[in-house]
């Protein structure tokens, strides 16, 4: 792999950038691989990279129906944090956070991981209780977190309306200072390049149309370009997981919903961190290019169209203007939608399946991007050993039968 550096860039500039190497090959699929990963998004590519790097398994193919990193990796609002409530989630996301912190150097690709801090605003007394509970749990789990009062919030976040005359006055916030944002495309490309360099075959424009089974055991994938054999198959297809499961002959406790996001026109820096509010329902950060990156809500119906309903956009913009009234004259440039695979407990599924040799990694809901390195890392270990990584074990499909849910949104679903 051609090493990237400032000096390299300078050297290439002398030859008018005519001699850069390809970031990855376009290989012809082999007959059989040790591991076939279905889905060339961030999670799938990370899985391939860690299989090769940490487990020495390089006879690996990533099969992608479109282009690498073209699904939710390309469509999310790039927030990274690990301050989850429950131990199981916190440990998994913190594992990811630690990998984020050295990722650019590890894969020699600047993923622009920017630890600008992630704030979750509190508007009600119950928000404060829930926040104390979460921050307290984070701290004892080794995840950084602070609980701020209203005055501190006002000092730390300029232009945020912290006055008492808003509909839901801000009375505090949690902050994870190690949280932040990263450049989403770069994550996919960086992992792809690094995996390719270790020998992984990245097979784009190839759609999995079925799974071949022998005596009930998965032995490979059927694709629109032919059969590819595999000793193990890992399915990491986010919003399309339900469809993949159907092809494999089982159902998942997953529903795929549109999740929308939008950006403003690029403006000079005004929002320095990531600010989220569950009560008024919006979150915002600003990219290095100057776009305000704003997350909108999930449509409650199932949708694979990569678009949602307009009222979701309206409510989000209303929330942003409520939080930051000075942004009222800024203009929205573009909106889009992704397909999020949600589970009943808002936690992922990283699990064996009813089909031997077939593993699923899905159900990340809105948490997918931030988990990318951790998800790939534990999934790679699970695929390598044939046994689930300890951090992945609590996320088995079995929990939806025996009741051992890890209820991340249950914890926030408040009656009163």
């Amino acid at each position: 792999m051609q090493h990237y550096s400032g000096f390299g860039l300078f050297k290439h500039s002398l030859s008018h950038h005519e001699n850069w190497q390809r970031m990855w090959r376009t290989p012809t699929p082999k007959k059989v691989y040790d591991v076939v990963i279905v889905g060339g998004g961030g999670h799938g590519l990370a899985t391939a990279y860690y299989l090769a790097k940490e487990h020495g398994i390089t006879n690996v193919a990533v099969v992608e129906k479109g282009w690498l990193g073209g699904g939710n990796t390309a469509r999310n609002t790039t927030i990274v944090r690990s301050n989850y409530l429950w131990d199981e989630s916190a440990h998994l996301y913190e594992h990811a956070m630690k990998l984020w912190e050295g990722l650019s150097q590890d894969i020699n690709y600047n993923v622009m991981f920017s630890q600008r801090g992630v704030y979750n605003l509190c508007h009600t007394l119950q928000d404060m209780r829930d926040s104390e509970r979460r921050v307290s749990a984070n701290r004892l789990n080794g995840v950084d977190g602070e609980l701020l009062n209203g005055k501190q919030v006002a000092e730390e976040i300029p232009y945020l309306d912290c006055s008492k005359n808003t509909r839901y006055p801000i009375i505090g916030a949690t902050v994870q200072r190690r949280g932040g944002v990263a450049r989403h495309d770069a994550v996919a490309w960086g992992y792809a390049r690094a995996a390719d360099a270790l020998g992984v075959d990245l097979i784009q424009q190839t759609e999995v149309t079925g799974f071949r089974k022998e005596n009930g055991v998965c032995i490979g994938v059927e694709t629109n370009k032919g059969f590819i054999g595999a000793k193990r198959v890992g399915v990491v297809t986010a919003g399309n997981s339900g469809h993949m499961a159907k092809l494999a002959g089982f159902r998942l406790p997953v529903e795929s919903h549109p999740l929308q996001a939008l950006v403003s026109e690029p403006i000079k820096p005004i929002i320095d961190s990531v600010i989220m509010s569950n009560a008024v329902h919006g979150y915002i950060s600003q990219s290095d290019k100057g776009d305000l990156v704003i997350g909108a809500g999930i449509d409650s119906w199932i949708g694979y169209g990569q678009r949602g309903s307009y009222p979701v956009i309206e409510h989000t913009i209303q929330a942003i203007v409520e939080m930051f009234p000075v942004l009222s004259r800024v203009r929205m440039n573009r909106q889009w939608g992704g397909i999020v695979d949600t589970t009943p407990d808002a936690c992922p599924i990283i699990s064996k399946t009813p089909v031997p040799n077939m593993f699923f990694n899905c159900g990340w809901g809105t948490g997918g991007f931030k988990a990318t390195p951790g998800s790939g890392n534990v999934f790679a270990a699970s695929l390598a050993k044939g046994e689930m990584h300890p951090l992945a074990k609590p996320f088995s499909i079995d929990r939806f039968h025996n009741g051992a849910l890890i209820d991340e949104h249950g914890a926030a679903a408040v009656a009163h």
Binding site: R133, Y168, P169, K268, S309, H416
Partner: protein
């Protein structure tokens, strides 16, 4: 120098209305009817800004929404700043203040430009992915500087003085675009009687006809526009929306139109007027007449001021009477662009030459130009332009388009304006918002809308129909079709006659070749706003980015505020050539709303500030305000939180309120609790199924507490339900759960058990509920009621009807404080009068109003839960130590029963709700604090639960809490520890959650 480029006559401007405006600190003049861009050009302003990445000087390039360069900051005051306004779309008004968004110290002498020249070489696409990585800790520092270069304009930092709103529209036919095709369509649809909306982004209707050389029925095309607009205006079924951009085409024919009502008048709306309005339109049929965008050609230094889109030159000359230069070189691959040379000539200006990439063009316009003596260089193109701050010359050379080679050294022509036309791209954005993939048409070298589920008709330019006469006919026919599909009788109409002429096909030329090859040639810009060059696109493909989305993302092609209107097809063509595939094989990127940017305020409409979301009040709110209450947000309600007296903080107020209730009597407004009237012969059976406990034996006149679970066995609401008559119950729910519970009842009744005869009706708003609580509540209430309150006559958990304060009431003897309590329900209209009477009668008893905080303390002392505070969606009734409230032998398997018996839900070491008593009675456990058994362990610690409710020492004399602890119910007397953020640890004993009056003696007071 005043309006040096203004032509002596012509244009649709009012020369009698001179408008002063300010650009970059200098005052200029323009005329009413100008856009800001036209006025700047009229004044000879060449440099309008600096480019995003390389800081190269840039001038106005286009005349409409595709403008990439002239993106300015507008606003005379801080509060009225508007970032990123395209000068080409901003009407000039008196006092307009505009500034460039980049460039230091000024756009004319920019220091960053020097850096751009040197550093430009170091900034190929994706350079930041390849560097700034080492050392790891330095990224945040690098990024600080990268962010300094971010953005175009800036947000205001003061509050917006303007208002915006939304308007919901419905129509039979929405016509998008009021050019020739759109107007013809509108006419056809409107005459059929359909409800029609016509929207166009420009200041006035007419589109291309406003600057057209063509005539209709022998008269200027603009005359026809005036006639049609006149007719449409007179029809009551037609709504005309100029200055209104259809920005999004959403599912089921829902579209959004962004109307700018006052932006042409000033940077803030006149008092009392709305600045911008979003129309939310549901259209039975849509006629898309969005027209085309001209493509520029891609050649060396095609970004230097003085390079323009060909059609824009005609627009400035004919519509605004402005000549954006003196000596024109036109580079084209099609016939239609020749009109630009003819317009230029008509304006008395000098056409240096026309370079036509085609070898033997013989179209009518070409011949007209030839006849007028214009020099035409065929088989040639402008290969590069020269000039630093303004074009000074252009090199025209012979090219071999197929081989992508320059075949002659060419000739440097002196000029100050290079206009280029690379053909026309139908504006397929709206047609593609729902994912319909555009289809490439080789005959017109453009993408036209592909199939899509929405009910729409594409007419005119967007449909690939370009000639004026054809476009009018296509539009009219489309209008007829749309109206008849919407259920209206088609009409016939006579369309004006347009001249038809021979037009020859456009040649497929996108990027003009250069001798040096793309990587080494002078920069050939594809996306001017994002400084994306042809070389960058080639590099991306070389590095393995083969999908169009990859190329876009790696190079930032089309990511600007113009969303690639100008450059995307050229970029595709360059990538396709580089990858040796065809343009349709390459495909387009996704089109998404918005077509052009939309103000946040306009999207938000009036849903901001004091009407952001509803605030719900009880009938007694005014009384609470009068009595000094502080309020707490509970769902949408404002509930009194506590009633501080002068000098009191929350703690002293709550202590006083608690004491009053425990010692005498307090008053709580409980009106926010959800109340559901349940009637029907199967009401009782329904309750059996929906609650965890049994209801079969509840007699008329009695009330019972119940828990509701979801199918998973987790508690989700609770409350008291009273039997009012045999088939009639009143259910109460939590305040926040009211709507949720009603829907819960309905979904089971309507979908699972439609055979059960029972109806549910919300009476939450109908009744106001006054709670009197405390040992003196009976005495007080007896002074204002005719109900026999005697202990035997009116026992605990029963209800009575009677007059309270002269008003009929249902009084429930239930208690959430542990004290003798009465909940008085009255028709809300009369509640205030009753309250005033009770308050008067309560004076001798020190009747004390209390809020939610005191209520929470008092109930916690009794160990009563609050769903949502002491539960979190993962607690079964057994986890709450409320097994007594579970009817395990009920015949019907009620909701939650099966769920709570799953393997994981019957574990003995689940987290269970217990009381917590800090060892130091003065220490307060923070609500939410996590608990551990061993405070000395290292991080990550093994957490065993958390504090759900906690209160400082109060009437009990010590602080206390409720919390969940793993296996807590079997750990009475054991210790838990809460390690806090400040490093301290609070130790607490696990105790029963009932701290006060465990035997319930308080109910028996006299």
């Amino acid at each position: 120098m005043s309006q040096s480029n203004r032509l002596p006559n012509g244009g649709r401007i009012d020369r009698s209305k001179v408008l002063n405006f300010n650009f970059n600190g200098q005052t200029y003049q323009g005329f009413e009817g100008d856009t800001l861009a036209a006025a700047l050009l009229a004044n000879g302003v060449d440099i309008i800004g600096r480019s995003f990445k390389y800081s190269r000087p840039r001038g106005i390039f286009a005349a409409g929404s595709e403008e990439p360069n002239a993106v300015l900051q507008i606003g005379a005051t801080e509060a009225t700043q508007i970032p990123n306004v395209r000068a080409t779309q901003q009407a000039l008004y008196s006092g307009l203040v505009a500034t460039s968004t980049n460039g230091w110290p000024s756009v004319n002498t920019d220091m960053m430009g020097i850096l751009g020249k040197v550093g430009g070489k170091l900034m190929p696409p994706g350079f930041y992915y390849k560097t700034f990585m080492y050392p790891q800790s330095f990224w945040m520092t690098y990024e600080k500087y990268i962010r300094k270069a971010a953005g175009l304009g800036r947000s205001p930092t003061e509050l917006d003085p303007d208002t915006y709103d939304n308007m919901n529209q419905h129509c039979d036919v929405l016509v998008v675009g009021a050019g020739p095709a759109g107007l013809a369509a509108a006419l056809a649809a409107a005459r059929s009687g359909a409800r029609v909306i016509v929207a166009d982004e420009q200041e006035e209707f007419g589109g291309s006809l406003l600057d057209s050389r063509e005539s209709l029925d022998g008269k200027p095309a603009a005359d026809w526009v005036a006639t049609v607009v006149g007719e449409l205006k007179g029809l009551p079924n037609v709504t005309l929306l100029p200055r209104a951009t259809v920005n999004g085409y959403h599912d089921h024919n829902f579209l959004t139109i962004h109307e700018r009502l006052t932006d042409h008048l000033g940077d803030r709306a006149p008092i009392g007027q709305v600045r911008q309005r979003m129309h939310r339109v549901r259209a039975k049929r849509v006629v898309l007449a969005s027209g085309t965008h001209e493509r520029p050609l891609v050649y060396g230094n095609n970004d230097v001021p003085g390079n323009m889109l060909a059609g824009a030159v005609s627009t400035y000359v004919r519509r605004y009477g402005v000549a954006p230069g003196k000596k024109l070189v036109l580079s084209t691959n099609n016939d239609y662009a020749y009109r630009v040379a003819l317009d230029w000539l008509d304006a008395g200006l000098h056409v240096v030459a026309v370079a036509d990439a085609r070898h033997n063009p013989r179209g009518a316009l070409v011949e007209e130009a030839r006849a007028k003596g214009i020099r035409i260089l065929t088989g040639s193109a402008v290969v590069e332009a020269r000039g630093s701050k303004r074009v000074s010359a252009a090199r025209v050379a012979a090219i071999d388009v197929k081989a992508h080679k320059v075949t002659s050294p060419g000739e440097w022509l002196d000029c100050d304006l290079v206009a280029s036309s690379g053909g026309y791209s139908p504006i397929v954005h709206l047609a593609s918002h729902l994912g319909g993939k555009p289809v490439w048409r080789e005959d017109i070298l453009g993408f036209v809308p592909g199939d899509a589920p929405q009910k729409r008709v594409c007419v005119g330019g967007v449909n690939g129909v370009y000639a004026l006469g054809d476009s009018l006919a296509d539009g009219f026919e489309g209008g007829v079709r749309a109206a008849s599909e919407a259920g209206f009788k088609p009409v016939e109409g006579v369309l004006p006659k347009a001249l038809s002429r021979v037009e020859e096909p456009t040649l497929a030329l996108f990027q003009v070749p250069h001798e040096k090859g793309t990587a080494r040639a002078p920069k050939q810009f594809v996306d001017l706003q994002n400084d994306v060059t042809a070389a960058a696109i080639e590099l991306a493909t070389r590095e393995g980015f083969e999908s169009v989305e990859h190329v876009k993302r790696y190079t930032a092609l089309g990511f600007g505020t113009d969303q690639g209107k100008l450059g995307n097809v050229n970029g595709l063509a360059i990538a396709a050539r580089s990858l040796n595939v065809s343009i349709p094989e390459m495909g387009t990127t996704m089109f998404r709303p918005n077509y052009t940017p939309v103000t946040f305020g306009a999207i938000a409409g009036r849903h901001c500030g004091h009407i952001f979301e509803p605030v719900r009040f009880t009938a007694l709110h005014a009384w609470h305000v009068k009595n000094g209450a502080e309020f707490e947000d509970v769902g949408q309600w404002k509930r009194p939180w506590y009633f501080p007296k002068a000098g009191e903080d929350i703690h002293t107020a709550v202590r006083r309120e608690c004491k009053a209730v425990r010692d005498s009597v307090g008053l709580l407004d409980a009106s926010t609790l959800g109340k559901i009237d349940i009637q029907g012969p199967d009401a009782r059976e329904f309750l059996n199924r929906i609650y965890t406990n049994a209801w079969t034996k509840l007699d008329v006149g009695k009330a019972r507490y119940g828990l509701m679970c979801k199918e998973d066995g987790m508690v989700f609401d609770d409350g008291v339900t009273a039997c009012i008559a045999d088939n009639h119950f009143i259910m109460t729910t939590t305040t926040g759960g009211a709507a949720r519970v009603l829907q819960w009842l309905e979904i089971y009744q309507q979908t699972e058990w439609p055979d059960l005869q029972v109806y549910f009706t919300s009476v939450t708003d109908h009744y106001a509920t006054l709670t009197l609580s405390g040992p003196n509540s009976r005495k007080l209430l007896s002074e204002v009621t005719d109900i026999d309150l005697g202990r035997e006559a009116f026992p605990f958990m029963t209800w009575k009807e009677g007059l309270v304060g002269g008003v009929p009431a249902r009084v429930f003897r239930i208690s959430f404080t542990g004290e003798l309590s009465y909940e008085v329900n009255i028709q809300a209209d009369y509640a205030m009068g009753v309250l005033e009477k009770i308050a008067e009668a309560g004076k001798p008893y020190n009747l004390t109003p209390y809020g939610t905080e005191t209520m929470h303390v008092l109930r916690a002392e009794k160990g009563f839960i609050i769903v949502g505070q002491d539960t979190d969606g993962s607690m079964t009734p057994d986890d709450l130590n409320m097994g007594w409230c579970v009817g395990r032998t009920k015949p019907f398997s009620w909701i939650g029963q099966r769920g709570m018996n799953r393997e994981d839900c019957v574990r003995e070491d689940r987290k269970q709700l217990v009381g917590l008593k800090p060892i130091d009675p003065n220490k307060w456990l923070p609500e939410g604090a996590q608990l551990v058994f061993d405070p000395k362990q290292s991080i990550p610690m093994k957490m065993v639960g958390h504090v759900t409710s906690s209160y400082a020492a109060n009437s009990l004399g010590y602080s206390f809490a409720m919390g969940v602890v793993k296996g807590g119910l079997k750990r009475m007397g054991e210790r838990v520890f809460a390690p806090l953020a400040d490093g301290s640890v609070i130790e607490a004993e696990i105790v029963s959650s009932v701290f006060f009056d465990p035997k319930g003696d308080q109910q028996n007071v006299e």
